[in-house]
Amino acid sequence: MTEQVPDPSASEAISVIVVDDHPVWRDGITADLERSGIAVVAEASDGGEAIELTLEHMPDVVLMDLHLPTVSGVDAIREITEHAPHVRVLVLSATGEEVDVLEAVKVGATGYLLKSGTAEEIADAVRRVARGEAVFSPPLAALVLSEFRRVAAQGSGEPGLTPRENEILRLVAKGYTYREIAERLFISQKTVQNHVQNILAKLQLRKRYELMRYAIQRGLDRSPE
């Protein structure tokens, strides 16, 4: 929203791979992004292709749908963030299906947008994600709040949210921008971003705990004799 006019110095460096199984969408998004001065270096139509092309091109951002043939969006994100940790993944989903979106964020996506967003919103989100910002839409913030609430109710003693993080997440859920939150809480915009990033990190850490617990339960942590 703050950068509706493409900023050449910033956008010059941004390279993107667009992943979507619907060719019409792929073309549309690509055209929109290029019009905003963002370079689409490759297009993929399924999860497997997305992984391959990402490892080949190492773009700044992978913009991907979650409903994909062959390898699912979530699995592709897991692969990408594991093998190319500096590549940011921005999820662009039509349904905003909660389980999928939350799962995508847990395995490493740094943002999520609905496909109904405008071309400017999408381009803006790509730039922010490329800068290393986490792009939390209000519904995603609400989802994350629910998730931490569920965890707290279980009382498993896993890292929860600090009161400040809670407050910030709530404001994001209400639709406040980072700038507005910063003004309201008398902190810098950078601090707001850090908080959001920490929330994301906690979510991803929880996922890792979950997998670890699962592995221990199944005895997968022991190497075969």
Partner: protein, 407 residues
């Protein structure tokens, strides 16, 4: 699939009953062997050795046939078995030295007759087992006069021995019946449990399949709607296109997309009795607000009493109309959560905003809608707060005390 599972369950049942029948047969043959051995050892004392050994042979042949053909599966065979056992009791009275039955001397039939009570009990159940026990007890009683001991002349000790025998037969029949009932019931329960599990698995698989299919369809419908909205918006800027008509189409598809997405993302979990998921109520309130996109999100779980839904959705709907019509907002966000015994609903728009001064608004005649919203919320025990400033949008906050547990 369910069929093959239940058949396996039926086979699993067998070991229990098979064990019971094996025990009954072992008892039958052990008591038969003992009876034969005893008859041979005491052959000097028998009044009618021919009858005695004749009946031993008959019982032996019968038992062999009974064991080999699994005679207990047929009621008629069970009746014959029981009759033979009773007859053996009568024969005992006849073949033993006169006046020795129940007098400490080994009884000719030994405990063999109990095997008939066991068989009936195991095959028919407790009632049948006890009935068989009663019949055998009667035969035992009659065996006394046949042995030359009129019932009226029996000593207390002889009576005690008689009762002892009767109790023995009754217990054998009843116990076998009880065991077989327990086995049958647990087998039936297990079969039921296995069938239920199989059915549940099938149901879950079917449901998952349908859901996957649904997701696929929904995804492409939503994609198409979003695409129509997007391309339509671009078209409206071209000179040769009737912008107004296209704009209408765009709005229609955008609205459909929103409503379908809202339906798809119904909150999970079972609401406490008498409550409605907060998100469902808010989505209902957003239906029919056509000119501005409304995003509803909630931190779940959050429920509100069903009795408050009407007033709450009414108030929210008015807030949305306000934003759409008077504030000319381009989007509205609803966020709701349940914290510390209250449900808090925030409705935020990016519209013109205004100075919230009730007196001034009253004079301008703009207080009507606000007062109506406030009245609805206060009517169900809540409060309304409005934050707004010209150019800064409007935020309406409804706060409702709610006694519904978070689960």
């Amino acid at each position: 699939m369910a069929l093959s599972v239940s058949r396996r369950a039926a086979r699993d049942v067998e070991p229990g009953m098979q064990g019971l029948w094996f025990g009954v047969l072992v008892f039958r043959w052990a008591s038969y062997a003992w009876m034969t051995a005893l008859a041979i050892l005491t052959r000097e004392d028998l009044r009618a050795p021919g009858v005695a050994f004749g009946s031993i042979v008959v019982i032996g042949v019968w038992s062999l046939w009974f064991s080999v053909t699994r005679g207990w599966q047929r009621p008629l065979v069970l009746w014959i078995d029981l009759t033979l056992a009773a007859a053996l009791l009568l024969v005992s009275g006849l073949v033993m030295q006169e006046g020795t039955a129940g007098e400490g001397a080994p009884f000719f039939a030994t405990s063999y007759p109990a095997t008939a009570a066991l068989s009936v009990g195991a095959a028919v159940g407790i009632g049948g087992g006890i009935a068989a026990g009663v019949l055998l007890s009667l035969a035992l009683v009659i065996s006394r006069p046949l042995n030359g001991l009129p019932l009226v002349d029996l000593t207390p000790d002889q009576w005690a021995s008689l009762v002892n025998g009767a109790v023995y037969y009754l217990t054998a029949g009843g116990a076998a019946g009880a065991v077989s009932r327990v086995l049958a019931r647990s087998a039936a329960e297990r079969t039921q449990a296995i069938e239920d599990a199989a059915r549940e698995r099938e149901r879950a698989a079917r449901l998952a399949e349908r859901e996957a299919l649904g997701r696929e369809i929904h995804d492409s419908v939503l994609q198409s709607l979003a695409l129509v909205a997007k391309r339509g918006t671009e078209m409206t800027s071209r000179p040769s296109v009737p912008a107004g008509e296209v704009r209408e189409l765009v709005e229609l598809s955008a609205r459909q997309e929103q409503e379908l997405r809202a339906l798809l993302n119904e909150p999970h979990g079972e609401p406490p009795p008498g409550t409605v998921p907060l998100r469902t109520a808010l989505q209902a309130a957003a239906f029919g607000v056509d000119t501005v996109p409304v995003t509803v999100s909630t931190a779940d779980p959050a429920w509100i009493p069903a009795s408050d839904v009407g007033e709450l959705t009414g108030a929210v709907h008015q807030a949305l109309e306000n934003a759409a019509e008077h504030a000319s907002a381009t989007k509205v966000l609803i966020f709701a959560e349940q914290t510390d015994g209250a449900v808090v609903i925030t409705i935020r728009d990016d519209g013109a905003g205004f100075v919230y001064d009730e007196g001034a608004l009253e004079r301008q005649g703009k207080m009507g809608m606000l007062r109506s919203m406030k009245g609805r919320i206060e009517g169900i025990g809540g409060t309304m707060l409005v934050h707004s400033a010209p150019g800064a949008g409007t935020e309406v906050e409804f706060r409702l005390p709610v006694q519904v547990g978070l689960g």
